[in-house]
């Protein structure tokens, strides 16, 4: 189509961009202001950028610790999720594996179930296992609850890879693991990246599971730590803004860098609730 943007359409797009950007810009620039400057000139650029807020949030606000914890939890969860889900998807989609389709449907069923609906029994189980107030509780929950969606996306992609390819590898002397690792997995990079990004966002941003399972300050995650700025600490907006900016930068960087995979994940996975 050779349509050109009509002036009205252009105005609408710019207006809505402002609706999106204004809150983000106010917070971003506010993070570099003193409380007094924010109060007097909330909507201007910072006159002389202050970096104290970041230091304050990192050290006084424990952000450094939260960062470390969110990183550890995301890293461990994602490593296991990717290992388990790629192996399963590979197995599910290879011919001759009759159970494959049944197992696939069993996993995909999990996409519908929200983890909130099972919080009571899961919590009791974690308590019995002695895992409450450890990082393991949330890591295990993340692995279990993202498995259905991950396998759904990966299986869709693995199916497009001709099985003659890995069968040939097996005939050539590879064992199953080698065929999977050396031949199939490298071809599936786009799907693996999609699963990685979407799960990273889910886990990095999750508030609900840490709220349920994590009590000690030294294992709190970013979302949980940030939530303390609500209410009681709200008097100091610039420090809160600095914390918000730091917590959001990693996901924004990932999003800007890998946008294509993100969008294809949304459209492929719009089945995810």
């Amino acid at each position: 189509m050779k349509d050109r943007l009509l002036p009205l359409q252009y105005v609408l797009l710019v207006l809505f961009s402002l609706v999106i950007f204004t809150p983000l810009a106010i917070v971003f620039f506010g993070a570099f202001k003193t409380s007094g400057e924010l109060f007097n000139n909330p909507y201007s650029f910072p006159g002389k950028p202050v970096f104290e807020n970041f230091k304050e949030a990192l050290i006084q606000g424990n952000m450094l610790i939260y960062f470390k914890n969110s990183f550890i939890i995301s890293f461990v969860s994602l490593a296991v999720i990717l290992l388990f889900s790629t192996l399963s998807s590979y197995a599910i989609t290879r011919q001759g594996f009759r159970m494959g389709n049944k197992i696939y449907i069993y996993f995909v069923f999990g996409i519908i179930v929200p983890s909130q609906a099972v919080m009571i029994p899961t919590y009791i189980m974690m308590a019995r296992l002695g895992l409450v107030n450890t990082m393991w509780s949330v890591i295990i929950i993340y692995i279990a609850t993202t498995m259905g969606f991950s396998i759904f996306i990966l299986s869709g992609f693995f199916r497009t890879i001709p099985r003659e390819l890995d069968e040939a590898a097996v005939i050539d002397g590879c064992n199953e693991i080698q065929a999977f690792w050396k031949v199939i997995l490298p071809l599936c990079k786009p799907a693996v990246t999609t699963v990685l990004i979407l799960n990273l966002l889910t886990i990095w941003n999750d508030f609900y599971n840490p709220l349920l399972y994590i009590r000690s300050e030294d294992i709190k995650t970013l979302s949980l730590g940030l939530s303390k700025y609500m209410g009681r600490y709200i008097t100091n907006y610039p420090i809160m803004f600095a914390a918000v900016v730091m917590a959001s930068l990693p996901v924004i960087a990932v999003f800007v860098g890998l946008q294509k995979q993100f969008v294809s994940g949304i459209t492929a996975g719009s089945v995810k609730g």
């Binding site: 961009s17 009791i124 498995m147 259905g148 918000v244 459209t267």
Partner: protein, 305 residues
């Protein structure tokens, strides 16, 4: 059977066994920590139990469910709040998303820039948005009120999040603001599947802009519309973080924003009524599953097209 094919047969069985072993770790963790708890909900919902290790579990049959629907104003009002929230989100989010999808589905200069901007909030966490918007809606220093004053609408200024009559709508607005880009991407994917020839045919039949929209775009976009409606519906049923952080339990307006998610949490972990909370979870699960299955049917239909 020749020895050759016997060997081949044995080889295939061995291969299938190895492949099955690949799925075992995922199956175990998924079953134990996600699927079995569903049965746990069913089991617990028949008991009165405060969750204590040594506390007695009393079998009460269907009492929990009867209490939910005959004697629990909180539960009914939580469901009502979910519904109001859902409608607000769907109206704001989907109408804006459709509008911008129609504009941006054409290959225009700069369209990818706008797509990126509109999608940006999707990656931010709910806690982040709660903090950002609590500042925006701050009755004294916030942008929203001072903006209204600047453009001469000062009579509209309001304590948006602190007043029980507007808190739920304000939070729904934040939710819609975040996901306009998400719905838009799904609409754009749907719009791109509509063949250009249909528009040309409609034009030959004398259809104008509106006619083409009503008779070609909307019917053919139905799967994407349904998908978005279902996603917003399940999303609204699941809402927890935004509500919990912006209007914390016990806060001044928390009763006006109580939804199923926060009510289950409160019933189980604050009041210590595990059986009763499990019964609530089951109702939530049931509603979401019904909507979810619709979603899968829509998805299947789209795949077949």
């Amino acid at each position: 059977m020749s020895t050759h094919s016997l060997k081949k047969h044995a080889g295939r069985r061995k291969r299938n066994t190895i492949l099955f072993m690949f799925t075992v770790p995922a199956l175990l963790v998924y079953t134990i920590f996600f699927m079995l708890p569903i049965l746990g909900d069913v089991y617990l919902s028949f008991f009165k139990w405060n969750g204590g290790k040594s506390a007695a579990m009393t079998f009460v049959g269907l009492d929990n469910f009867i209490r939910l629907f005959t004697d629990d104003k909180e539960f009914v009002s939580a469901m009502w709040h979910n519904l109001v929230y859902m409608i607000t989100v769907i109206v704001i989010q989907l109408s804006l998303a459709l509008l911008f999808a129609l504009i941006l589905s054409k290959k225009l200069r700069g369209s990818s820039f706008f797509k990126t901007v509109f999608l940006l909030p999707v990656v931010l966490s709910n806690v982040t948005l709660a903090l950002v918007w609590s500042y925006m809606f701050d009755p004294l220093n916030g942008f929203v009120n001072s903006f209204l004053e600047t453009i001469g609408l000062s009579f509209l200024t309001h304590n948006w999040l602190g007043d029980s009559s507007t808190a739920l709508f304000s939070i729904a607005f934040i939710n819609a603001w975040q996901y306009v880009g998400y719905s838009m991407v799904i609409f754009i994917a749907g719009l791109l599947t509509i063949p250009e020839s249909l528009y040309e045919a409609a034009e030959i039949d004398g259809a104008g802009r509106w006619g083409k929209f009503k008779n070609v775009t909307i019917p053919l976009l139905m799967p994407a519309i349904m998908m978005n409606v279902v996603l917003s519906t399940t999303g609204s049923l699941k809402v927890f973080d935004l509500i919990y952080v912006i209007t914390p339990p016990g806060g001044p307006v928390s009763s006006s924003t109580e939804v199923l998610g926060t009510l289950i949490y409160k019933t189980g972990f604050t009041y210590g009524e595990m059986g009763y909370a499990a019964a609530m979870s089951l109702i939530l699960l049931l509603i979401i599953m019904v909507v979810g299955f619709m979603q899968i049917r829509v998805f299947r239909a789209q795949e077949l097209d």
